[in-house]
Amino acid sequence: MSRKRVLIRRYAGEVKYRRPSGPLWEPAADIYKTSEGWVIKLDLAGVRPDDLEVLIVGDELIVRGVRRDSFINEGWSYYQLEITYSRFERAISIPCDWTQACIRSESREGWLIVHITCDK
């Protein structure tokens, strides 16, 4: 199982983050509270790490990206489609001081996992 680190970008509170227009789909997320801090797990199977972006904007953690269907081949055609592709975005807010937090994320087994360690 490949483990790949995902780039995390921080924006200072003042910077106005502009949401892309139009609604996007939202991946499902589990949030764990750990002894060090938090672990967030997002259902993002089939998303290439390059297509993923984790941002801290103000007091929100934003995960966004695009799921592309690279599975389809020449001469194939869909009989049924249930998986949502295209762009997605998920904003998560948890009670945590982001400026002090140490954040790290990885893509594993189709999940995107974000570790947040809060300093005492």
Binding site: W25, V66, S77, Y78, Y85, S86
Partner: protein, 815 residues
Amino acid sequence: MSKTNLIELPVLPLRNTVIFPNGLSPLTVGRPLSLAAAEAALATEEKLLAVVTQRGEEDTEPTPEGLYTIGTRVVINRMLRAPGNEEVLHLIVQGQERLRFVSFTAERPYLKAMVEVLPDPLRENTPEIEALRRNIDALVQKALGLLPNVPSEIRSLIVSAADTVNLSYFLASVLDLGTTQEQALLEANTEGELLRLMHSYLAREVEVLEIRSKIANETQEQLGKTQRDYILREQMKQIQKELGESEPEQAEATLLRERIQKAQLPDEVRTEAERELRRLERLPSAAPDYNVIRTYLEWILDLPWMIATDDSLDLINAREVLDADHYDLDDIKERILEHLAVIKLNPKTKAPILCFVGPPGVGKTSLGQSIARSMGRKFERMSLGGIRDEAELRGHRRTYIGSMPGRVIQALRRAGVNNPVMMLDEVDKLGMDFRGDPASALLEILDPAQNFSFRDHYLDLPFNLTSVFFIATANTLQPIPPALRDRMEVIRLSGYSEEEKLHIAKRYLLPRQIQEAGLREDQLQVDDDTLAAIIARYTREAGVRQLERTIGRLARKVALKVAREEGEIFVIKSAELEDYLGHESFFHEVARELLPPGVATGLAVTEMGGEVLFIETTFLPGSKGLTLTGQLGDVMQESAKAAHSYLWSHSAELGFDSIEKFDKNGVHVHVPAGATPKDGPSAGTAIVSALASLCLGRPVKGDTAMTGEITLSGLVMPVGGIKGKVLAARRAGIKRVVLPRKNEQDLKDVPPEALADLKVTLVDTVAELLKETLTPAEVQVEKASSNDEKLPSKPPIPGDQPGRPSELGFEGTEQ
């Protein structure tokens, strides 16, 4: 993800619908071009597609020119092939952003275009936008209220929507606004433009919804009522069927038919009844006319067209019945017996139409009852007092709602026979207004030449009234129109004399009141003297009603004593009357022994019988002409003018040396009591005597009363009501009455005992009259003292004092 300005996407043309950013929309794809575009989109990594609405919906293969230039980029979220038909795709797409089509790059196998992603409509924050937002919110609330079937999720979604742009897109996709309007919304580039459009569409939509819900409610209500009636009616039918009854209208018609066959009806009436019955049978019972016709038929069937009672023609028995009920009244009793005799000889004779005229309480109404009893006929009475509407007598035509036959037909139905004695009470008190003249309607009813075919407006069938014995009653003849008076045989019932009253009290009133009070006959004994005292001191009337009430009061007082066991048998003496009845109520206007010059005693008849009245005259130095007061009618005023003129012009012949008094002074004539209207010519002699007395300064004899009309040439003409006037004079203590000679015959009507107390002088001319009425000139000076000695028993009455005429007692006239 890339933000390049232009991208190439497969194009899916939409029919009939516009997809907005944000919303999820199901799409069914069947056209080959669209299928190919959808397949191409599915084959890409991001499943993106440009959708755009085509301008004409019939176009199956739209060209780029047939499409709007603004569309929406969507992502295909779900795809499913229709089971059994793989050439149809069901898609669920999610709108993302608005697009502008820059150029089309291919038309086959599917449309393909270069598109530019348009930014979200620019959010603005002006007061106008805020106002629009609030208005839209209000309209949305209203619309939600009118749409009961909106799922609660959608409801809460709408209510909680924070962004008006997205809310507008959502509403546009939910509401059925029409493609053109939806496209216009999609093309709006600023929030202001979008909201303005949305507001106008919403307002219209809400209006449509309101009208729709109103129509729906009304229809529901209407349907509900009709349905309910129908169900109830059907149930009733079923119930009746179960009970073995036939349908009600049928049963009713059959019943009426049987009654018509059995009833005794004249041919014309039978024909009409059967015709109406046929009409009735054709009508449903709910028809408004149904009840009208049924009521009409019932009226026809209830009337006594051919039913009559047999007259009892036993003359002796009839006389006994009449005598038992009423004292005296010989004229009337005779008239009834005559009629019975005629019926005996000629059964086809027409009934007479009588009119009893007389003061209240003389027994007019009860006489009608005993006539009916003596003849063995039914008695029906209707009071005409205050009737102003001709339709009361003759009915309303059947076309009016609530119409009914008139009183005559109603009375006949009550009587159940066509020959009752029908009493028309108070015929002089008929009114008249814009609705017609009931007296004129009576003309037809009371004319024997016309009333064999009396047509009531309601029945519109001739009814034969010839066998009805009509008796009208009135207090005075004057208000009765001449045409009506002419049709009736007028019988006058004047007031009773004191002797007659005594007889009536003894025979009828006392026994009746003793019985009413629950006493035994021997428990209350009143002798003649006492009764006479009651009549004289406690009553003043022409009839006997007040007398009967007074006797009733006496009987009740005695009943109280009997109940308290204060005694068993009471014999009332006239001296004890004050204990039982209190102070005496009346002392009659009595003769004034001492009249000042210019005052004379006249006699008048009122509805209550005869009265004594005084004529007062005085000079008004320095004025001219004649002043008349005391509510005098035209005839009486003219009579006073004639008296004035006569004296003025004939002063020389009459030996007056004081003609200049008329030249220099006006004259005032007053007749108390001033509040009671008076009219008639019969005060002429009294006025002329008063004026002559004034002129000469010689008083009129105080014990003398007079009546009679005078002419300018000095003749005394006869007047009516002699009996009542003489009785009043006697009651007042007058000793002498001066009457016109032409009234000599009328004295026969006066009870002999009254004549015995009075001296009657008959005169032909005013000259004779004045000789009789004025005190002689020589004794004038001693008059005052000598008069007092002549009649010492009577104390002077305060009003007699000269100069205070306004206090003259005349209380009796107001009764």
